[in-house]
Symmetry: C2
Subunit: 92 residues, 2 copies
Amino acid sequence: MFRALADPTRRAILDELTERDDQTLFELCSRLATKHGMASTRQAISQHVEVLEAAGLVRTRREGRYKFHRLDTAPLRQITERWSIPPLEDEQ
Amino acid sequence: MFRALADPTRRAILDELTERDDQTLFELCSRLATKHGMASTRQAISQHVEVLEAAGLVRTRREGRYKFHRLDTAPLRQITERWSIPPLEDEQ
DNA sequence: TTGACAGGCAAGCTACGACTTGCCTATTGT
DNA sequence: ACAATAGGCAAGTCGTAGCTTGCCTGTCAA
């Protein structure tokens, strides 16, 4: 899962899913291209999504010929727990 | 900094510094070898530390011929803020 | 002052990750 | 039925991350 976060395109996918859940692969492709300025092919995105799925950061649901993607931030807790991140105080 | 977290050896270094600050490079080497079972050379660890420094996750202080390493978890906040991790409550 | 110790620098090797290309499957609409 | 659409599979290319090797610099103790 740490490896999954290492790639900027994958982080952009997480960003995209943060502000809008249940996107299809094609939606993700076009939105990444326009809003994040990343010109990636569908296959590239598809492979990134696979990695994110394997890391448990993205859940997918098949529906007809569409595959919807949903963000799951639960695995990210590992990070805050492992190195005990100080609870974010108001940094002036 | 995400890339810095992607490597298991580097995460082990952070773990090591979590439970004991101000270790020298040689200390880190031997402790990683014994406690974490990672047989890495000094140069390898040194390069990992460089990456962690560049990511702002490790602060160093030179003292004579020793170089002490200290953990800085501040950059990790980015993660919790970026994808709004729910504040870890007592789970169950 | 000189040898032992802590660490740095730089070039080279290797393996793996990101991406492409080409073709295939399955679902839907007309 | 068949074309269009959403997605999957697999092989191949290329760059770079991680590691090693060899040698160099700087500090301290005898």
